[in-house]
């Protein structure tokens, strides 16, 4: 019996190691390629023949706008993260704690709106932003505005969390003379740290991947690109060979801070995702 258990465990470990190799392989390749000295696109070997830092030097050099794109993305991510979290907290509190006319209707309307594909409205949003002069050179505030404006509809997870805080606490606070605003500020927010971190984290990560809308709004204006737009163009040009190793290096520089942040807040992410999945 014991021997059988050992064999089963050994098989499990082999499977897990295999899975880990498959999961890590692309990242491993990405790192190695970013240090590759010889030029060219994909090559048939994994370990570079010539180790070099020149891809990184290129990114930070004067020929490249990488730093500009990087700071663009960082600015968008920071603003979206903060503002979106505020909006979601406000909406969640109102929907979770207060009962007002049209509450159910509002939630149903938002549910239905969410069933339309996001890209449907792309042209219309573009012209709305253009009318506000928030395209091309103004694409950064434009993108922030778009991301924040509609974020109220993403209240599910946060409201679900607020719902678990007993309403008896609210009632007690009201008897003590607290206003609704005070309850939100002094009671609900301090009790909801995990979900607030989760909301902010998810909002922070999204802009790093935003290719579609960001490229449409920037409309070829290079200074307004975010990293996803700029670097995707590197890979999709016909002579991507020249830029492939630079893409890998840039990808590493993008991935490291985001990954570190995510990993350090992983606990909250799991909590939010699990809670959201069960409550729907």
């Amino acid at each position: 019996m014991k021997r059988r258990k050992r064999i089963v465990n050994a098989i499990c470990y082999i499977v897990l190691i295999l899975i880990s190799v498959i999961w890590l392989f692309p990242f491993f390749g990405l790192v190695l390629q970013s240090f590759r000295g010889e030029s060219g696109g994909m090559v048939s070997y994994l370990v570079p023949q010539e180790w070099s830092m020149k891809n990184y030097q290129f990114l930070f050099g004067s020929n490249s706008k990488f730093l500009k794109w990087y700071s663009n993305t960082l600015i968008i991510a920071l603003f979206v993260s903060i503002l979106q979290t505020i909006v979601i907290i406000c909406v969640s509190y109102a929907l979770s704690r207060m009962r007002f006319r049209g509450r159910k209707a509002l939630m149903n309307i938002w549910l239905v709106l969410g069933m339309f594909p996001g890209f449907l409205t792309m042209i219309c949003l573009y012209f709305l932003l253009k009318a506000l002069h928030l395209t091309e050179a103004g694409a950064i505030p434009g993108l922030i505005l778009i991301s924040v404006a509609s974020s109220g509809m993403g209240y599910y997870v946060c409201k679900g969390y607020f719902d678990t805080i007993p309403r008896a606490l609210d009632e007690a606070a009201i008897i003590d003379g607290a206003t609704r605003a005070q309850i939100l500020w002094k009671m609900i927010i301090p009790m909801s740290k995990p979900i607030i971190i989760y909301t902010a984290l998810v909002a922070f990560m999204a802009p790093w991947c935003d290719y579609i809308f960001a490229s449409y709004v920037a409309f070829g204006y290079e200074n307004s690109y975010n990293v996803a737009v700029a670097m995707t163009r590197w890979v999709w040009t016909n002579d991507y060979q020249g830029f492939f190793t630079r893409f890998c290096a840039g990808g590493i520089l993008v991935a490291i801070p985001v990954t570190v942040l995510f990993m350090s807040l992983q606990k909250y992410y799991v909590e939010g995702v699990t809670g959201g999945a069960v409550k729907g």
Partner: protein, 461 residues
């Protein structure tokens, strides 16, 4: 049908009562209330409710200015979407009507009119209530109390005002606009500002379904729709069951370094997808690493172009999606596994059940019960999973049998995107968007009516 009738008569009844109330408010009201019918907020101002009065007055002024000062010229043309095309008179270009803005601002003006009617009604109600209060010898809420209530009793209005406005302008308005576009001929040959577009009724829908249109729109649409559903099915359920398997494997008693295994898997969630997916896509290219390794090991002699063949591209996309999706399911399932009481497994073991049996009888039913809504959102998310498809191979390979740039791995949303960006075929893009909505809504409705966890919330307790 019957229910609808009742709904209609209910509405008419409500409207009748409302009109009666408006009439009574006018007849029984004093001169301040009567004047408020014309000048919103007048009564409130006279009665000392400065905050209410001024905001009503400002809203009325702003909306009236918007409707008549700015929007009227658009609203009057909304039935034709403009008649004067931009043309040249001699050497001068004379700018004509812009159908795009006529439609967009036309919708906005209609909404403004509705908002004005609603505010006007609210204004009358406030006047009526104020009179009632005064005649009953009570005091009206002061300005200070009105303001303070925005942070207490009416805090929901404060909290929701900006989010609702934002959603209206940047989601509702564009969606209404695009639904309208589906009934126009707005495409590359009818592009404002140089050209006009106009209403064409259901023609675009007919074209998409292949009735009397040019090209093979009908066939392409159903082909893409079929793959979209197939993809969503495989992407959802394969990741779900494999993710559950991985979670159970890591959770197994006697396996060490649980945290390490999880962290390795979670990396794919942490690294931005445009980095990881673009790289993985290139790995499977003709000159990519995978082909190179397969050749070096002697398994193949010439590189395989995975992305050029419809079937291999589809299979590959589903497999690569596992790489993205399994960790996500793993995280959720891990959290839920711990909720299953250990005694259940214990008693199953005593009854002589093996590991597989206890999985089938305990774990799986519990999981399916709890994660029903999650599966639904995953399925819908996959129907619209733009990133995986687009970053890996942009919906290719294309085929001669498909029209309008559609490829074998295109989802409805990526096709919609291509039509918007590459072809400027906005009218059909809008129709496809409506189709995506219908598919999503139908699936949601069906699943919601079937799901046990929605039907009876206490089922598994």
């Amino acid at each position: 049908m019957d229910e609808k009738k009742r709904g209609n008569s209910g509405f008419l009844k409500w409207l009748g009562n409302d009109l009666k109330d408006i009439g009574q408010t006018f007849v029984r009201g004093d001169w301040k209330t009567k004047l408020s019918f014309l000048i919103m907020g007048f009564g409130q101002l006279c009665r000392g409710q400065i905050v209410r009065g001024l905001s009503m007055l400002a809203l009325q002024g702003g909306l009236l200015y918007f409707i008549f000062g700015f929007g009227w010229q658009y609203l009057t043309k909304i039935l034709t979407l403009g008649t004067v095309e931009t043309h040249r008179e001699g050497r001068v270009t004379v700018y004509g009507h812009n159908s795009f803005f006529i439609l967009l601002y036309g919708i906005l003006v209609i909404v403004a009119v509705l908002a004005l009617i609603y505010l006007w009604r609210l204004n009358l109600r406030q006047n009526r209530d104020a009179e009632h209060l005064l005649s009953a010898g009570k005091r009206l809420p002061s300005n200070k109390e009105d303001l303070a209530s925005l942070f207490d009793k009416n805090f929901d209005k404060t909290l929701l005002a900006l989010p609702v406005l934002g959603i209206f302008i940047f989601t509702v308005l564009p969606i209404i606009f695009m639904i309208c576009i589906a009934f126009t001929n707005y495409d590359v040959t009818h592009q404002p500002p140089s050209k006009l577009f106009t209403w064409v009724g259901l023609q675009n829908f007919k074209e998409l379904f292949g009735i009397g249109g040019t090209g093979n729109f009908g066939g392409t649409f159903f082909y893409v729709l079929g793959w979209t559903l197939l993809w969503a099915f495989f992407a959802t359920f394969l990741t779900y069951f494999l993710g559950m398997a991985v979670a159970i494997l890591i959770n197994k008693k006697g396996i060490k370094f649980k945290k390490l295994w999880r962290t390795i898997l979670v990396l794919t969630i942490a690294v931005p997808q445009f980095v990881s997916l673009l790289y993985v896509g290139k790995m499977f290219a003709v000159d990519g690493l995978v082909n190179a390794f397969l050749m070096r090991w002697g398994w193949i002699s010439t590189p395989i172009n995975f992305w050029a063949n419809a079937t291999s591209a589809r299979v590959l996309i589903i497999i690569i999606n596992l790489w993205i999706g399994i960790p996500y399911t793993m995280l959720i399932v891990t959290g839920l596994l711990m909720n299953i009481p250990a005694e259940l497994y214990e008693s199953a073991r005593i009854d002589g059940a093996n590991a597989f049996q206890s999985f089938r009888k305990i774990t799986l039913p519990y999981m399916l019960f709890v994660t029903g809504p999650f599966l639904l959102t995953q399925f819908i998310g996959n129907l619209n999973n733009f990133n995986v498809i687009f970053l890996l191979n942009q919906g290719n390979p294309k085929s001669l049998e498909l029209t309008n740039n559609a490829g074998a791995t295109d989802l409805l949303v990526t096709w919609l995107y291509k039509m918007t960006i590459n072809d400027s075929n906005y009218k059909i893009a809008a129709v496809i968007g409506i189709m995506v909505f219908i598919v999503t809504a139908v699936i949601s409705l069906i699943v919601y009516n079937v799901l046990p966890s929605v039907k009876d919330e206490e089922g598994f307790q």
